[in-house]
Structure formats: structure tokens, C-alpha cells
């Protein structure tokens, strides 16, 4: 049957495309630079969003004597899935995840040294802030968190149960109540109202953007870098910086058996030159002295990363990931889990 074989052929093409997409060795040979050692292949495993930034960093690194002789094998996907894949044997020399708990999983498995946070950025490679995405021109006149819980505002935010990265949004909503003098009860009430206004809880940050662009809701909770990326891609969105919001910190580490070049790459990515590549993709630099001019897709190119009046952090305001995971996201007793489980029933 002809149509069968056509379908099979189409599938085979799709599958091979998918395979090449998830592992493409990138090699930039530059004859003018003398390499400082023999050729090395590094396995870079990361969450999907910073792929473009890493490609740019690797290209910059290849212009130095340390990086010229290095070939990368990369794998990008959902943060939690990538972390579990590494535990289950996916080769990784450098990992870059969206939340710390995905690195902790590797520490527990003995794949990353417990001392991975002992560097000037405390293990953080890229950073952003939680922002409120709105439609172009802000037709609902959203100015801050309080506007989100008004009746009739439809919110799209990733589901903290299925998306590790979505937890930043839930924490930002909770933390801004506490940081401005509210009690835990008031924070509970606010977050409940927020999730009651949710019209969709997509599975990941990217799905959230897709759903919002598809027309769902009036606002979406997202990250500044995701908003900048959407803007760079020409999507019709706008976003506002709440007065109080949460700093998003994406950790990176080298694995215990990685060649020395892995640490060299990570150091380069943390240098002003490496962070410049991240900044161009919308991430806030984690070191000082980074050139942040000429970044496209931002609201104000002269001030691409405006200072947040009250910027919360996981360590200072929530006591670190271990404590907050138990308090907020335990699958039975977690506050956010309970709030979300209760939303469908009230209606």
C-alpha cells in the first residue's frame, strides 16, 4: 500500500530530524590559533531555553587557545527530563538546568561534587526575573500583582506540578505578599485567587508562551528572558516589571568525571564575554563588567535589564530550595500543590 510507505517514510524523516536535532556536534576549526592541548569532546546537557546562548558562547570560546580544539556534543530538553536522563546514564560533562533541584538530583547520585556551589556566583550560570506578560498595548492595564487577582482577568502560568521552572512564578506570587508585610494567610489567599483566575496551566514555560500567543488569557506569568526572546522573534507581546519580584537563578555544574576542559568552558561562560552571549539572549548577567549594549528585543535598549525595586531571592526569602520544596511543593502537603488542587472544585 503506497500511502503506508509514504507515512512510514515521513515518520523516518521526522525521527532522523529529531535525532540530529538533539545531538549535533559543533566544531569550529580556526587555523590561526594554536590549541593549548589535544582535541577534546565535551558533552553539554542543558534545559532548552539557553541553547542559543551556549552555541554563541562556544563559538566565542573557539576563538581562544583554550577552546579552539574542543568539540561539543549537546543535548537540550525539559530541565527535569534532562537531569533524570543524566542520572540514568546520559553522558554529561557540563550540565545547565533551570532549577537547583535538578543539580541536587545529580549530587545525590554522586555525579556532581557536593561543593559545586563553591564559586563566586554560587553555582549560578544564568539569571532572570519573573515578569508579567501582557498583550501589546496592555489593554487590561495591568500594573502589578494586585491587578492579576481582579475578577475577569485570565492568567496563563505553567503548572508547578509538571514544570520545575514554573515554581518560580508561584514563589514570586507568594513572596511578594510576604515581602510587603503580608502574613502567610494573606499570601495563601492571594495565591489562591491567582490560580482561580488561571485559564490554563501549561506544562512548561515555553508552552505557556505558546498558549498565550494562541489567544488564551489576558496575562501570562513568565521570565524576562522568555519575554525578550518572544519579542526578538517578532511576537506581539509586552510585559511589565512588578515592583516586587523574584530573581530566577539557573545553576550549572561540571560532573565529577568531566575532563578539565569542562570547568574551563564553564569559567569562560561565567566570564564577561560568556555572559555577554547570555545577555544577548535576554538573561541578566551574573557577574559585573558585562557589556549589555545593543541587546535587541528589550523594552528599553539603553537600560535592557531595569533594576527591580524589591528583588527577592530563593536563598534570602525562602531559605533555599530544600526548605521551600518541602513547604510549597510536597506532592501531598505542599501549599501550592494544595492551592492548585482546590481550584477546580470551587467552580
Amino acid at each position: 500500500m503506497r500511502f503506508r510507505s509514504t507515512a512510514v517514510a515521513a515518520l523516518a524523516v521526522a525521527a532522523s530530524l529529531a535525532l540530529t536535532a538533539c545531538s549535533k556536534p559543533t566544531s569550529t576549526v580556526n587555523a590561526d590559533i594554536t590549541p593549548d592541548g589535544p582535541p577534546v569532546t565535551l558533552n553539554l546537557v542543558g534545559y532548552a531555553v539557553p541553547e542559543a546562548a551556549h552555541t554563541a558562547v562556544a563559538a566565542e570560546w573557539a576563538k581562544t587557545s583554550a577552546g579552539v580544539n574542543v568539540t561539543f556534543k549537546t543535548s537540550y530538553g525539559a530541565s527535569g527530563d534532562q537531569s533524570r536522563a543524566v542520572v540514568n546514564g546520559l553522558a554529561a560533562d557540563i550540565v545547565h538546568f533551570s532549577v537547583e533541584s535538578d543539580v541536587t538530583r545529580l549530587v545525590d547520585a554522586g555525579l556532581v561534587a557536593p561543593t559545586w556551589k563553591d564559586n563566586p556566583t554560587k553555582g549560578i550560570l544564568s539569571s532572570s526575573v519573573v515578569v508579567i506578560g501582557v498583550r501589546k498595548g496592555n489593554p487590561k492595564n495591568i500594573q502589578g500583582w494586585d491587578d492579576l487577582v481582579k475578577p475577569g482577568i485570565g492568567i496563563v502560568t505553567a503548572n508547578p506540578a509538571s514544570s520545575g521552572a514554573a515554581r518560580w512564578n508561584a514563589l514570586a506570587a507568594w513572596g511578594q505578599v510576604i515581602a510587603n508585610g503580608g502574613t502567610e494567610e494573606q499570601a495563601y489567599e492571594f495565591v489562591s485567587k491567582l490560580y482561580n483566575n488561571a485559564v490554563a496551566l501549561p506544562g512548561s514555560g515555553r508552552d505557556t508562551t505558546t498558549a498565550f500567543l494562541g489567544g488564551a488569557g489576558d496575562v501570562f506569568l513568565t521570565y524576562e528572558n522568555e519575554a525578550i526572546l518572544a519579542n526578538q522573534s517578532g511576537e506581539d507581546i509586552d510585559w511589565i516589571y512588578p515592583d516586587t519580584t523574584l530573581r530566577i537563578e539557573n545553576p550549572a555544574a561540571v560532573t565529577v568525571n568531566a575532563p578539565p576542559k569542562a570547568q574551563a568552558y564553564l569559567d569562560f561562560a561565567l566570564s564577561p564575554a560568556g555572559q555577554r552571549a547570555f545577555a544577548q539572549k535576554g538573561f541578566r548577567p551574573v557577574v559585573s563588567g558585562v557589556d549589555i549594549t545593543g541587546i535587541t528585543g528589550v523594552k528599553d535598549p539603553s537600560n535592557p535589564f531595569p533594576e527591580i525595586k524589591k528583588l527577592l531571592t530563593v536563598d534570602d526569602d525562602f531559605g533555599g530550595w530544600a526548605a521551600l520544596t518541602k513547604k510549597f511543593f510536597d506532592s501531598k502537603t505542599g501549599i501550592i500543590v494544595q492551592i492548585i488542587a482546590a481550584t477546580g472544585k470551587a467552580q
Binding site: F3, T6, S162, A200, A216
Partner: protein, 290 residues
């Protein structure tokens, strides 16, 4: 299939085509030849590696936390509600597919019309399309910005629509070959004996198609309950309203609660098994009655 298959009044037990689960072995006690023994060995090994061992692993993992952990995992209101939504929707979708799939197969086999070849090809698209792409297409066509004015986004109907989309080919593709092999003489004989077209269809055609329809229905149900990609963008994953079981399983995995994920998966497996057996029993009854 020979014309013998088309004497529906008193079918013998041996003629049943299709995917009978409990199909009788032709001769009991007969020794296997070397070739057929080898064939059986390869088949069993293949099946074990791909299906049996993974299935057992799921069930073993599900039982690791003991009965109470298993029960807790599947009776959490949010999870129970997701299971209810998934199974009910898959059942309704299966019934719709039985009717619409048979109709489409009939049109493809019996009617000559321009564009038939194109339709024939398009039927398989839901198989070939990566489900997340299907999800994007469904979102743009039946979401808030629908050019057709149909918006089912973030409502339970979106789950129904996504299931319908991905399961469409099953009944069509199982019924179509049986229908095209069907001997028209029996129908003509029935007609010449004065049977109306409806009676001919009901007494002659339908009994021959029933096993194929049942096989398609079982596949369609099983595919529906496990669907994720095509609906995840459209349904909004709202707890207790549009959240399906596969999203709950994913949430459990994301929280490193593999036992809960396996428990929910085991329940889905059990439900699918019950439905597939029920469909098989039902089609046997129908065929026997003619």
C-alpha cells in the same frame, strides 16, 4: 476470507477473522515443527523485550510502595478526577470512532469520487504528525483565535477533540481492508431475496466487519487514554476540569515520585485491558447473533 465468512446465520467457531483475543488454536496437542518453533521463539522474545518486560516493570514499580501508597496515589481527588475524565472521554471517542470510522471506510472503499486518493492519504496524517504539532494545529484552529469561530480551549471538549483527532485512523484502517475484501455476491444475493439495503447491511455486511471494528475500537480507546502531546496545549491542564491522566503521571515524575506515576499507569493499563476484553466479548456476542 472466503464467501463462507458471509453466512452470518450460523457461523462456526472457526471463521472469526480479526484480532480475537481468545482465538482457538486450530488443532490441540499438535507438535511444533522446527521452523514454527523458531518462529514462536522469536515472536515471544520480541514481544517480551518490547512489551512484556516493560509492563511488568511498571507493575512492579507501582507495587513497591505497598497497597496504601498505591491506593493513595490513585485516589487523590485531583488524580481520580483526571482518570475519570480520561476514561470517560476515551469511551465516548471510541463510540464516535466506531460510527464515523466505519462510515469513512465505507466511503473510501465503496464510493468512487474525485479526491479519494487524497482522502485516503490524509487519513494517516494523525499517525504521522508528531502529537505536539497536532496540538499546535488544534490550538490555532479551535483555540481562542479560531478562524472557524469554534473555541474549545481550556474546556473539557478540548480533550474530546484531541482524542478524536489522534484516534481517527484506527477504525478506518482496520475496517477498510476487510470491507474491500468483502464478497459482494452475498450482498447481491440478499438483495435479490428481497432484503432492504439496511437489512443487507445489518445482516450481511456488519457481522463481517464487527471483528475489525472491534479491533479498531480497542486500539482507539487504548491510544486515547494515553494521549498527551496533542491536548496539552489546548486543554490548559486545569485540575479537576481538563487535566488528563498523562499530565498527572508527568507531574509525579517531575516530583520524583516514580511509584505514584507507575501506580496511575498501572490503573490505566488495567482499565485498557478491561475495555479491550469487553470489546472482544461484545463483538463475539454480536457476531454470533448475526
Amino acid at each position: 476470507m472466503t464467501s463462507e465468512t458471509l453466512t452470518p446465520t450460523r457461523p462456526s467457531r472457526s471463521w472469526r477473522p480479526g484480532s480475537g483475543l481468545f482465538r482457538r488454536e486450530p488443532v490441540a496437542g499438535q507438535r511444533l515443527t522446527v521452523a514454527s518453533g523458531l518462529g514462536l521463539g522469536v515472536a515471544v522474545l520480541w514481544f517480551s523485550l518490547l512489551v512484556l518486560i516493560p509492563l511488568i516493570a511498571v507493575i512492579v514499580t507501582a507495587s513497591e510502595g505497598g497497597w496504601s501508597a498505591f491506593w493513595d496515589a490513585i485516589t487523590t481527588p485531583q488524580t481520580a478526577s483526571a482518570i475519570r475524565l480520561t476514561v470517560t472521554t476515551a469511551l465516548i471517542v471510541t463510540v464516535v470512532n466506531v460510527v464515523m470510522g466505519t462510515l469513512i471506510a465505507w466511503v473510501l472503499v465503496r464510493d468512487k469520487f474525485p479526491g479519494r486518493g487524497v482522502l485516503e492519504f490524509l487519513i494517516d496524517i494523525p499517525f504521522a504528525l508528531p502529537t505536539i504539532v497536532a496540538g499546535l494545529v488544534l490550538l490555532s484552529l479551535y483555540g481562542p483565535r479560531s478562524p472557524l469561530g469554534i473555541n474549545v480551549a481550556n474546556a473539557p471538549a478540548s480533550v474530546f477533540l484531541a482524542f478524536l483527532f489522534v484516534t481517527l485512523p484506527f477504525v478506518v484502517r482496520t475496517v477498510q481492508p476487510v470491507l474491500s475484501e468483502l464478497d459482494k455476491e452475498a450482498e447481491e444475493a440478499a438483495a435479490s431475496l428481497g432484503a432492504s439495503r439496511f437489512t443487507t447491511f445489518r445482516r450481511i455486511v456488519l457481522p463481517a466487519l464487527t471483528p475489525a471494528i472491534a479491533a479498531g475500537a480497542a486500539l482507539s480507546f487504548a491510544r486515547g487514554v494515553s494521549e498527551y502531546g496533542s491536548l496539552v496545549l489546548l486543554s490548559g491542564n486545569l485540575p479537576n476540569r481538563t487535566e488528563v491522566t498523562s499530565v498527572r503521571i508527568l507531574a509525579s515524575i517531575e516530583n520524583d515520585n516514580i511509584i505514584a506515576a507507575a501506580a496511575v499507569a498501572a490503573v490505566l493499563l488495567a482499565i485498557s485491558l478491561v475495555v479491550i476484553v469487553a470489546v472482544d466479548v461484545l463483538q463475539r456476542r454480536l457476531v454470533r447473533r448475526g
